[in-house]
Symmetry: C2
Subunit: 124 residues, 2 copies
């Protein structure tokens, strides 16, 4: 990974352990030790995964005495949602395709055939 793309959300969710951690944190805030009980690896390893999730803003930390509570920050997943939305027009339907072009001001790329149009469409 290059320096520019460190803390990349796509890279962060690539690991199955990290995805499972995110699901665990969906229910409630948890300290590292509690999280690591769900995995066949050391607490230190889980701690490293949490650091990666923190860097990509997928979780936040909150100190509570000697514990550190990790909390899901689902807003970070919006980047993923937006990336996905680019491709949605390819599997959804014409409405969502139109939505895509409107939202991205790419109407010009559409070969629109309006009822009142006098233009000859190139292609049907």
């Amino acid at each position: 990974m290059s320096a520019a793309q460190k803390h990349d959300i796509f890279q962060a969710i690539a690991d199955p352990t990290r995805r499972k951690i995110l699901k665990l944190l969906a229910d409630k805030k948890l300290p590292v030790t509690a999280i690591s009980r769900h995995f066949p690896m050391s607490r230190t390893a889980v701690s490293k995964h949490l650091r990666i999730l923190s860097k990509s803003k997928l979780v936040s930390v909150e100190k509570a005495g000697r514990e550190k509570l990790y909390k899901l920050q689902p807003e970070a997943l919006l980047e993923l949602k937006e990336w996905l939305s680019f491709f949605e027009r390819f599997w959804d339907n014409k409405i969502s395709m139109l939505k895509h072009f409107v939202e991205n001001e790419e109407i010009g790329k559409l070969n629109l055939i309006m009822p009142q149009s006098n233009e000859e469409p190139k292609d049907s």
Copy 2:
């Protein structure tokens, strides 16, 4: 990566080169050589990326003479969309949260307060 999770879509889209390839293929089918012109790496390297995308069903191949046309298979992204939908209820609104619980038959987990209810809600 373990054998069980080879060809994982999350791993496939983790690499920025592969994500860019997917965007390129959104417009049209392309042969390897044409794709590799967009990247500062060898054709062979791009070919390897395409093999990974193929394994996770994100692209398909179609032989055309001596060329091999790579084509986007956006349906494979549905797995990602579904994974994301699990978290949507955390950032959207109450409607989408309700939608989530209904779709997953988890109504019982909700602390519903209906107008006609005689039950004392635990928490407001």
